[in-house]
């Protein structure tokens, strides 16, 4: 018997990669029965019914209140009990972030081998050989499990086709299986899910950019550029040394190792104009440069240049714009 562990997404729907894993299991099985297991109890009924419609002989839904939300310890404990009861030859999962998180632990508890990120299967049954990529796809390794099982396998996303699943005649039986998870055994406590609020800035879309370079001298002076930028609805960007020092995030770096931009207006403050920076901004329609050094190469590409102290000029500019 081959066990396929389904993955349920945060919104309670079945992760499509589960069907790819069923397809892989069918190829591996060679007629052996396939059982699908659902560990998550969120909308388990609907997910179980969906799985029962497609090519498996039974659906097992693990049931425990600890399984309402994903925790590595909880899911690992549930998987151990499901595997313990069903004694499959193989346990297959999609190679998702979630599987990568808890399956190694489960395999280790069994002292069983885990073959990860499999892209192909040769042969069927316990002699099957699994293909996985090495050296970023330059080599393909053939791997076979040793020992008596269970044999854990995770399947690379997209390596098998979900629409290749052979569907059975009727719906398979859905069985609920009570599992026992002691709350103390779960060491993680899930918090509210969140998404990192800050989207990466796409400076390529900005119409106006105020960029700062080494001439800004200290991190606290970045606020000066931010004030000017706010006064003219511009994005703040920087040359490499600024981002290197961590004064601004790397996604605000302009130049050969950062973004290439072509805004309508580009104001370069204290940027000498190393060629590495120029290649990232010379497409700007109008370039204004403020720099103390009259020989700075930035003036070779600038349309308007101010030779002077940015700590005098920028506040004056900002004040004038703020009036408007």
């Amino acid at each position: 018997m081959i066990l396929v562990v389904a993955e349920v997404q945060r919104d309670g729907t079945l992760n499509r990669a589960t069907w790819e894993t069923v397809a892989a299991a069918q190829q591996l099985a060679g007629g052996e029965p396939i059982v699908a297991a659902v560990l998550s109890s969120a909308r388990a009924g609907a997910v179980g019914a969906e799985l029962a419609s497609g090519g498996v002989s039974e659906v097992l839904v693990a049931s425990h209140e600890q399984l309402a939300q994903y925790t590595p310890d909880g899911f690992c404990a549930a998987l151990l009990q499901v595997v313990g009861e069903t004694t499959p030859t193989f346990v297959l999962l999609p190679h998702t972030y979630q599987a990568r998180d808890f399956v190694p632990m489960a395999a280790a508890r069994f002292g069983a081998p885990l073959v990860t990120d499999v892209t192909g299967i040769e042969g069927t049954g316990t002699d099957a050989v699994f293909l996985r990529q090495m050296f970023q796809g330059k080599l393909v390794a053939s791997v076979r499990h040793r020992g008596s099982g269970p044999r854990f396998v995770t399947v690379q996303l997209g390596a098998f086709r979900a629409d290749a699943v052979t569907r059975g005649d009727g719906a398979a039986a859905v069985r609920t299986m009570a599992v026992d998870i002691s709350p103390e055994a779960v060491r993680q406590r899930p918090e509210e899910p969140f998404r990192e609020a800050k989207q990466a800035v796409d400076l390529g879309q900005a119409e106006r950019i105020v960029a700062v370079g080494r001439g800004i001298k200290a991190q606290e002076h970045i606020a000066l550029a931010e004030r000017l930028a706010a006064a003219m609805a511009a994005e703040v960007a920087a040359s490499r040394p600024i981002c290197d020092s961590g004064w601004l995030p790397m996604d605000r770096q302009i130049g050969s190792s950062g973004q290439t931009v072509a805004p309508k207006l580009y104001i370069a403050l204290g940027i000498s104009g190393a060629i590495q920076h120029l290649v990232g901004m010379k497409g700007a329609r109008t370039i204004v440069a403020v720099n103390k050094d009259a020989d700075a190469p930035i003036f070779e590409v600038a349309d308007y240049g101010i030779v002077g102290d940015l700590f005098e000029i920028v506040p004056a500019l900002a004040a004038e714009l703020e009036k408007g």
């Binding site: 050296f135 970023q136 330059k138 040394p241 790397m250 190393a274 060629i275 290649v279």
Partner: protein, 551 residues
């Protein structure tokens, strides 16, 4: 943590002229002799073969002709055969052409060409033979079992600047081999490890290095006839500094020019990049370059110490070939043919050892015998003292060079030398009370037409690294402000040709060393020349580095 492992028969670290010649020779032996097919793998840190290969280059085709006799039919061509050699002695304002070209600098039968193109072609030949060339993978660590080389661990990928694993983290792979051939180039990081761990240089002279800075230029085609090879002595270097300039002319107005400076200079304020700019501002050189454009820039260290500095090149399960072992003829200014030759010899020894099922040091010692009995020693032994003689100044060096030609290297006692970084004098010692106040050395005008600042030059090296990774220059910065500044005036900011090192002075703060690791062009100068030996170069994430097309 468990890593992927890969088992091969022969692992070659470094896909340069030595490594690829070894790989090709193994494939040839396999074909000629048959038997159980050997698994051979080549590791190369560059994204594509040849991207980190830089040389002058005047190429002696002797080893190539042995390896691939029909290389021309197989699609390899060089820019031009050498038609004429010229040697000039330069002072600040003038040049004198030597009436007779010294025999070692006669290059009849050689070719002006690009090492990058030669390596790319070799890589194609190797891959056509079915050998796996893993480009974009650097060897990070030698795997040792006792005194036996078991293989090499490749570098991790996807590590963030703070050392944490990024989403695409991939742990390095352990590649196990019956024989590992180290061809990781001058001051190779793995060869450095293994030589010191196994004491392979314990009774050898210290290696001597130089750094070469090179540019490709496109100039009006009537400036210098293609096939012209010019070498210069003297200015911008002083009597006490080893080195010289080169200008090689290729068809279509393409010039390769550069300056080689010994990494055993005494003046702590000496600046090879500034010296290269001075070379270009010399009226003779300016007259060749004027009106032309810079195409590419690069820099690379080279091993100059010669025969007496070559470490024991064999060990249990391992061999060393090419620049990694110091196989370079500093008198002829050539190493590519010796790299290829030693690569081939290493391959032959590895092949025989594997077939005899004995890859111990004793069995692999046949490599050293092949070197001793063949063209490698014949070329290197007679000139073994020449570089060391230049340690006594240009005149002494030239006299010794002449003497070694006359006597074929026979004399009573070999010359000794110190490691180059130990020769660097402190500011107080060198300048006494007259330390230049700026401590930046005499400056050279930079016009961004003929001469460039380092940062602009680096742009023309095409170097690129994943920015979000730990620095691949491991530096003990505790000496920078307290000792190195007062004693040597931060020589790293001068000897690095790529502005990796910068001293940042912020008001109220002690000076701080900033390491711009992603500017690095992998020349290894810092690892060699830093006077405290506190800089260790380790490979950055595979694929990063310069892009030396045509160099």
């Amino acid at each position: 943590m468990q890593r992927e492992t890969l088992d091969v028969d022969v692992l070659i670290v470094g896909g340069g002229p030595a490594g690829l010649s070894a790989a090709l020779r193994l494939a040839q032996l396999q074909k000629q002799r048959g038997g159980e097919p050997l698994q051979v793998a080549v590791l190369e840190k560059a994204r594509e073969a040849g991207a980190h290969s830089l040389s002058g280059a005047v190429i002696d085709p002797s080893a190539l002709a042995t390896l691939v006799p029909d290389w021309q039919a197989k699609g390899l061509s060089f820019a031009a055969p050498v038609e004429r050699d010229r040697v000039y002695l330069m002072t600040a304002g003038s040049t004198w052409r030597l009436p007779v070209v010294p025999p070692p600098l006669r290059n009849h039968g050689c070719f002006i060409g690009s090492l990058n193109e030669l390596v790319r072609w070799l890589s194609g030949q190797v891959e056509a033979e079915g050998v796996d060339v893993f480009s974009g993978f650097a060897g990070q660590e030698v795997l040792l079992e006792g005194t036996r080389v078991r293989g090499v661990r490749t570098g991790d990928r996807g590590v963030a600047r703070d050392g944490s694993a990024k989403a695409a983290y991939e742990a390095g792979v352990d590649i196990h081999a019956r024989v590992t051939i180290f061809c990781d180039g001058v001051r190779g990081n793995l060869t450095k490890q293994i030589v010191s761990r196994l004491g392979l240089d314990s009774d050898r002279e210290p290696q001597q290095y130089a750094v070469g800075l090179k540019e490709l230029w496109d100039v009006p085609p009537d400036r210098l006839a293609p096939g012209t090879v010019i070498h210069t002595l003297g200015y911008p270097l002083r009597q006490e500094e080893f080195g010289g300039g080169f200008i090689y002319a290729m068809p279509g107005g393409r010039l390769s020019l550069g300056l080689v400076a010994g990494l055993d200079y005494r003046d702590p304020l000496f600046d090879p990049h500034a010296a290269f700019n001075r070379f270009k501002r010399h009226p003779f050189v300016t007259s060749l370059l004027e009106g032309g454009t810079l195409v590419r820039y690069g820099a690379k260290a080279l091993p100059e110490g010669g025969w007496n500095t070559i470490p024991v090149p064999y060990m249990d399960g391992g061999l060393i070939a090419g620049d990694a072992g110091g196989f370079l003829n500093s008198m002829r200014l050539k190493g590519i043919h010796l790299a290829m030759r030693t690569g081939m010899l290493a391959a032959e020894s590895a092949f025989e050892a594997i077939r005899a099922d004995d890859t111990s040091a004793a069995a692999l010692a046949r490599y050293a015998r092949a070197i001793d009995e063949g063209p490698v020693r014949a070329e290197l032994y007679p000139v073994r003292n020449v570089h060391q003689a230049f340690g006594h100044g240009l005149v002494a060096g030239l006299a010794f060079a002449g003497l070694s030609i006359l006597t074929r290297g026979r004399w009573l006692e070999d010359l000794r030398a110190h490691p180059g970084h130990e020769r660097m004098a402190t500011l107080a010692w060198y300048y006494g009370l007259d330390v230049p106040p700026s401590r930046t050395g005499p400056s050279v005008p930079v016009d961004r037409t003929l001469t460039f600042d380092r940062l602009t030059n680096v742009h023309y090296a095409g170097t690129a690294h994943e920015e979000d990774q730990p620095s691949h220059l491991l530096v003990d910065t505790s000496v920078c402000a307290t000792r190195c500044g007062p004693e040597y005036g931060h020589p790293c900011i001068r000897f690095c040709p790529a502005q990796v090192y910068e001293i940042v002075r912020e008001p109220g703060q002690p000076v701080r060393l900033q390491i711009n690791a992603s500017n690095c062009v992998h020349c290894k100068t810092c690892d060699i020349m830093d006077p405290y030996q506190v800089i260790t170069w380790v490979p950055p994430e595979g694929g990063g580095g310069p892009q030396y097309n045509g160099m």
